[in-house]
C-alpha cells in the first residue's frame, strides 16, 4: 500500500498488488469508485442506508472474489456488475418488506452541493419520479444517461440485449417526461 499511495496507478496494477497479498491496497479501489457507485446505488434504492449497504456488500464481494476478475484493467465495470446485482437483490428484498419505495430525507438532501429552494424542490420531484419507474427501466436509464455507458457496455453488464435496453431507456424517458411535464413547464 505504501508504495502505491499518491501514485497514479491503473486498476490492473492495484488488483495485482492485492492478489499478491497486499490487502490494504484495495482501499485505493474503494476510494476510486466509492462516490460514483454510491450515486448509482442511491438512485437505484432511494435511501442512503440501503445504498451504502449494497455498495459495501459489492466492495466486499469484489475483494473476496478478486481472483475471478479476469480482466483487472476492467475492475470498474466488473465491480459495477456486482453492484447492479446487489441493488437488484436489495430492491427486491425491500419491495417484499415495504411494498413501497421511499426516498428518505438523507437521499433527497444528499447532493453534495447546496441547493437553494427551487432547485431542491426540482431535485425532490426528479427523485420521486425516478422511484416511480419500473426498477429495470430505472436501472437502464441511470446506466445510460447518468453513468454515460454505451448500450453495448450496458448489455455486457446486465446480460440484457441491446434492443431490450433501448426499449427500457425509451420507456423510462417517456415516463419521466410524463411525470415531470408539469413541474418542468412551471
Amino acid at each position: 500500500m505504501e508504495g502505491l499511495r499518491g501514485m497514479e496507478v491503473s486498476d490492473a496494477v492495484v488488483v495485482q498488488r492485492v492478489l499478491a497479498g497486499d490487502g490494504d491496497a484495495y482501499a485505493l479501489l474503494v476510494g476510486r469508485y466509492r462516490d460514483r457507485y454510491a450515486r448509482f446505488a442511491m438512485h437505484m434504492l432511494g435511501n442512503r442506508d440501503d445504498a451504502e449497504e449494497a455498495l459495501q456488500d459489492a466492495f466486499v464481494r469484489g475483494y473476496r472474489s478478486l481472483a475471478r476478475c479476469e480482466e483487472p484493467e476492467k475492475f470498474g465495470p466488473w465491480l459495477m456488475q456486482i453492484l447492479i446485482n446487489r441493488c437488484r437483490t436489495a430492491g427486491g428484498r425491500r419491495l417484499r418488506r415495504d411494498r413501497t419505495f421511499v426516498h428518505d430525507e438523507a437521499a433527497i438532501a444528499s447532493a453534495a452541493t447546496g441547493h437553494p429552494g427551487d432547485q431542491r424542490a426540482w431535485r425532490e420531484e426528479i427523485l420521486r419520479a425516478l422511484e416511480q419507474l419500473d426498477p429495470l427501466q430505472r436501472e437502464a436509464f441511470l446506466l445510460k444517461h447518468v453513468e454515460d455507458l454505451s448500450y453495448e457496455e450496458m448489455a455486457e453488464l446486465t446480460g440484457v440485449g441491446v434492443s431490450a435496453l433501448k426499449m427500457r431507456v425509451k420507456r423510462a424517458c417517456d415516463r419521466l417526461r410524463e411525470l415531470l411535464q408539469e413541474v418542468f413547464s412551471a
Binding site: A38, E52, R61, S65, A67, N85, A111, A112, C173, L180
Partner: protein, 204 residues
Amino acid sequence: MPDHDDLMIARITRELKQPVLIDPSFDTRVMAQLRDDRAPRMSPWQWLVRPRSIQLSPLGGLGVAGALAATILLAVSLRDARPAVAPPMGEMPASATAPASAGQVALAQAPTAIVQTVQFVLRAPRATTVTLVGDFNDWDTASTPLQRAAGDMWTVTIPLTAGRYTYTFVVDGKRWVADPSAPRAPADDFGQASSVVTVGGSAS
C-alpha cells in the same frame, strides 16, 4: 437545436449527476470488514488461464493448435464428472449408475426449526478436489470442501438458516459446475452459472 423533451431529459440527467454524500467512515467500514479476511490470491490455474494478448508466428500457431487439441482431449476426459442424484441424508448411493443429470441437495430437519442441515452431493469420478461455493460462504473456494464418499460421490453437509441460496460446485479448483437439476440463479454476480436452493420453504 434540441427539442423540449431532450431539454427535459438533459436537465434531469444534470441533476442526477450531482455527487452524493455518503458516510465519511464508509471506506474505514469496508476495510475493517475486510481486515479479517485472507487476502484474495490468484491460484496457479487462474494465473495460467488469465487472458493475454499474444502474437504468434506461423510456427507458433502450429504449437498452439497442438496445445488446443490437448486441451480438448482433457475436457473430454473430464466430461463425465457431472453432478448426480444426491442421496437422502446419511445414505450413500449404492452405485454410480444414478442418473447423471439429476444433481440436487438433500434436506434434513435439524433439532431446531431455525437451522437445517443441507447435504450437497456431486458425482465427479475423476475429480481431485470439489468445493462448494455460494452466497452462504461468500463464494470462498477454500471454506467448504466436499469429501469423497462411496463410489464417485463427493458430499458435504452444512447448516443453513431458512432462506434462498445461490451456489455452485468448483471441481479441481478451476471448473465451475452448476447443479443441472436445480433451478438456475437468474443473475449471477460474477457471470458464472449457478444454482438455487431454498431452505425451509419460507423464502420467496
